[in-house]
Amino acid sequence: MNAGWAEALPWTIVLPMVGAVLTPAVAARRPRLAGTWAWGVLLVASALASGLVYQLATTGPFSYDVGGWAQPYGIELRFDHFSAWVLPLLLLFVVIVPFSWRYLDHVMPDERRPAFYALLLLNAGGMIGFCVTGDFFNLFVFTEVVSLSSYALVAVGGRGLAAFAALKYLFIGAVSSLLMLFATAQLFALTGSLNMADVAGRLADVGGGPAVMVAFAAYAVSFMVKTAMFPVHVWLPDAHAIAPSPVSAVLSGMVVKIGIIGMLRVYQVFFAADVLELGAFNQTLVWFGAISIVMGAFFAIFQDDIKLMLAYSTISNIGYIVLGLGLASPYAVIGASVHVFNHALIKATLFLAAGAIIHQTGLRTLSDLRGIARRMPQTSAAMAVGAVSIVGLPPTAGFVCKWYIALGAFESGQAPFGFALVFGALFIFIYYVRMLNAFYFQEPVHDVVIEANEAPWSMRAPVIVLATLCLVLGVLGGIPLSFVEPAVLELLPFWGN
């Protein structure tokens, strides 16, 4: 039944989890071993994920029936083109973890490291599971693994304020998870099944109606909270800014994306069932996306704290993705799907570079960090590359996605949103220009900055690798695009009816 790399599918999820469980035992004597252990586990998991992507590329989407139970009676794992996100996700983790080895020196005592790396591994495993599961309740369980580890990761570095930010995140996140559970229960009551494909089939028999619509809306609101779109973004900036930088990179780059992936999953089901008129909903997404772009950029401009600025910039970029999804034209959705990854890459670059600077100087505001570029040229250059990418100047990774989303706006006959996107990028550039200006063209005001040194290699190398990738993925931007294209085209016949 299952052939080749498909066998590795459940193990790819389980491996980081078991790795996390074993971390305290492995690092019982030497807590610093935990970092290396986590890295090793992630490397092996990435190797498995590469196998899965290889299988996907050769034979197309495939399923795995956990426990050998035929569908819809057991839990189905399904690896399609949207699930392929697990590979870049793991690779980003592989780059981010070495960064945290030295970064944690200033953040936490050694004895807490095993727990920290366990949380990172759990987070990674949870996201992998989230991306590949084909079962609604299983989706909820993985959401909780990801969310719970994220709440904790926000608070590990700081004391009171961090705990407060994490708690705020926890309350809002828990309510959104409850909405998700509610929606799952609603669908179960309507169809008597939890398997996504099966639910889609049974929903088509049930037909539309208010209950179906409420279930869909509960999912949508839940995922929008998770992805921090504008009206429900309040939890994000503090949480992402106060977390240790490697964690910020994980949260801002990847964890918020589970909202997007979840939205795509729910779309797949509801489009296949074809029971709801989703045009109006898409239009709502478009508007909220556009507002997110502008408001995120607007708030970012007034921030002095670089990490807070980057956190607001995430809201803007999520806006791009949501706008692309809502536009519901092939180009826009392809662009949005790829931006899910490209934004993760760019944001990881920026947060890690910012983290390296904070680690070396202990300062985190633009006004304090003036002139840092002359003392930390490589990190600053990486930051500049990241800034240019996230604004979307050609030929960087950010450009390709925005090109496709804007083209999609024209394609779907909503040209004003195309222009809004282009000028939103401009708005975003304003605050990155502020940052680069401070780093490169202003005289240092702080002695710490004048005497700062480049970060150690274990931190510099990840930053440089990521910055290089930002450029490479602009130049080779066609590869991810052509990869998601079949999935999007499969989704689109039902799109925006």
Binding site: L407, F423, F441
Partner: protein, 518 residues
């Protein structure tokens, strides 16, 4: 496109762009002596110039060298393809770049920022060459945005509050412009499904008029910011005085011109003459160009700061290019394209001279230039030559281009445009001749040219001259040489305008491709 032109695969355009990029790495290399670094940079740029000249030869031989740089996606790919207009502009960029680079070796003071200056300078040069040789809109956009953003570092080079303010203004204008261009490119792709330049245009004639107009105005306004069309020119007079003189020369000579070059590309290679005329936008563009010429010149009259005055002059002169494009006549366009080249060297000379004056005497303002002609005769002579050229005195290059512009206008019966052209020339005389007068004939006030205030205003370029010295004292040859060379080119392009391989011949070729053999 005339049938005699054949596309050939050739790496040379890529090499022309890559050589200065190597220079970026060289500038950043530590542990090299200044002399060694300078000679390598100059060698690279010279190599680039040789390649650019070689490409002119290729184009004249009826070939169109082309190299594909990269395919990002099925839609987005970058290609360099050299046609007559591109070859002409590219050679101009390389030549003026080499002169400015040599000049900069003497002008830019040693210090931590020197390496940064050369790195960004070389990068800008590479990207501007890329703009010249771009074979499709995306390539054009990539290089155009890249050098626009990189220029910021050179504008704020001095890091004085004024420079930072000018830089902020610059980047704000340029980014808005760049975004409009991007929107235009997007819309073009949406309408045409392709981006490659084709002589005669490739936008579908039957596309909705509203969308065509939107695309067109996105391009014109977007490039117009760079080309300093009048309501959009705000950054020009601030950025030029703030930038170091060699970069001001390049900025005015070829980078502002890149905006005008972009408008040419859009009108002739994207929209096409036929569609351009039928859209009915030509009269509007003519009006904007005319306003630019006159307002730019009038504002130049009021400027005390010499570099500001020259910056306004650039605004006015760029108006001629837009005017030529808007009239869409083959003769006028040939004149416009030639003027792009001629203006580059004339304005280059003027900025070089202004820089020399600042460097030697600290004089930035008109009043401080009294008597400088006697102390720096060669510099002042070069300035005079270029100023006369700018006004259009025969047999200098400025005369040639204006003659062709004027004759072309008469051909198509654009009398009003001719009047604007002549008025612009008169105004040019009015704003440039007083400088010459001040330098040669105005009575010298003791200490005026070497006042302490003037010296401090010079910022990064500290006067090397002894304030007490009253005798002749020219700048070092690294700076004087390029100045004189640029001035000599002004003369040579005027005298030899009809020679093979000179700008006029290439311009006629380019026009042939755009107007379809007419």
């Amino acid at each position: 496109m005339s049938p005699s032109v054949g596309v050939v695969v050739s790496w040379w355009p890529g090499i022309a762009v890559a050589l200065p990029l190597v220079g970026v790495a060289v500038s950043a290399a530590t542990g090299w002596s200044e002399r060694r670094r300078a000679s390598v940079l100059a060698g690279l740029t010279f190599g680039s110039l040789l390649v650019a000249l070689g490409l002119i030869r290729e184009v004249l031989a009826g070939r169109m060298p082309e190299v594909h740089l990269l395919h990002m996606t099925a839609q987005l790919w970058m290609v360099l393809r050299v046609d007559a207009a591109g070859a002409l502009y590219g050679a101009t960029v390389a030549a003026l770049g080499l002169l400015a680079l040599t000049y900069a070796f003497g002008y830019v003071q040693p210090g931590p920022r020197r390496a940064r200056f050369f790195a960004f300078f070389m990068a800008c040069l590479a990207c501007t060459l890329g703009v010249a040789y771009a074979g499709n809109l995306l390539t054009f956009l990539v290089f155009y945005e890249a050098f626009s953003v990189l220029t910021y570092a050179l504008v704020v080079h001095e890091q004085t509050p004024a420079a930072i303010a000018a830089g902020t203004k610059y980047i704000a204008y340029i980014l808005v412009g760049g975004s409009l261009v991007l929107a235009g490119v997007l819309l073009t792709f949406f309408l045409a499904g392709d981006l490659a330049f084709v002589g005669g245009g490739f936008l579908p004639v039957d596309a909705p008029r509203g969308q065509l107009l939107t695309a067109f105005w996105c391009f014109v306004v977007g490039f117009g910011v760079k080309a300093a069309l009048v309501p959009l020119h705000g950054w020009v007079p601030d950025a030029h005085p703030a930038a170091p003189a060699p970069f001001s020369a390049v900025l005015s000579g070829v980078m502002v011109a890149a905006g005008a070059f972009g408008i040419m590309r859009v009108v002739f290679d994207v929209v096409g003459v036929g569609l351009f005329t039928s859209l009915g936008v030509a009269p509007w563009l003519t009006a904007i160009a005319a306003v630019t010429i006159l307002v730019g010149a009038l504002l130049a009259l009021g400027q005390e700061d010499l570099k500001r005055r020259l910056a306004y002059s650039t605004i006015s002169q760029m108006g001629y290019l837009t005017l030529a494009v808007s009239l869409a006549g083959s003769g006028v366009m040939a004149g416009g394209l030639v003027h792009l080249v001629h203006h580059a060297f004339m304005k280059g000379t003027l900025f070089f001279c202004a820089g020399l004056w600042i460097h030697v005497t600290g004089a930035r303002r008109l009043g401080e230039l009294r008597g400088v002609g006697a102390r720096m005769p060669l510099t002042t002579a070069a300035f005079t030559l270029a100023a006369l050229g700018m006004i259009g005195v025969p047999p200098l290059s400025g005369f040639v281009s204006k003659w062709w512009l004027g004759v072309g206008m008469l051909e198509i019966g654009a009398g009003a445009a001719l009047a604007v052209l002549l008025a612009g020339a008169l105004l040019a005389a009015a704003y440039l001749l007083p400088v010459v007068y001040a330098a040669y004939f105005a009575p010298t006030r003791p200490g005026a040219a070497t006042g302490a205030g003037a010296a401090s205003r010079a910022g990064g370029a500290t006067p090397t001259g002894d304030p007490a010295s009253r005798g002749a004292r020219e700048a070092p040859w690294t700076m004087l040489g390029p100045t004189l060379a640029a001035a000599a080119l002004t003369l040579a392009f005027g005298l030899g305008s009809h020679l093979r391989g000179f700008p006029l011949q290439l311009a006629e070729r380019a026009v042939l491709a755009w107007f379809g053999g007419g």
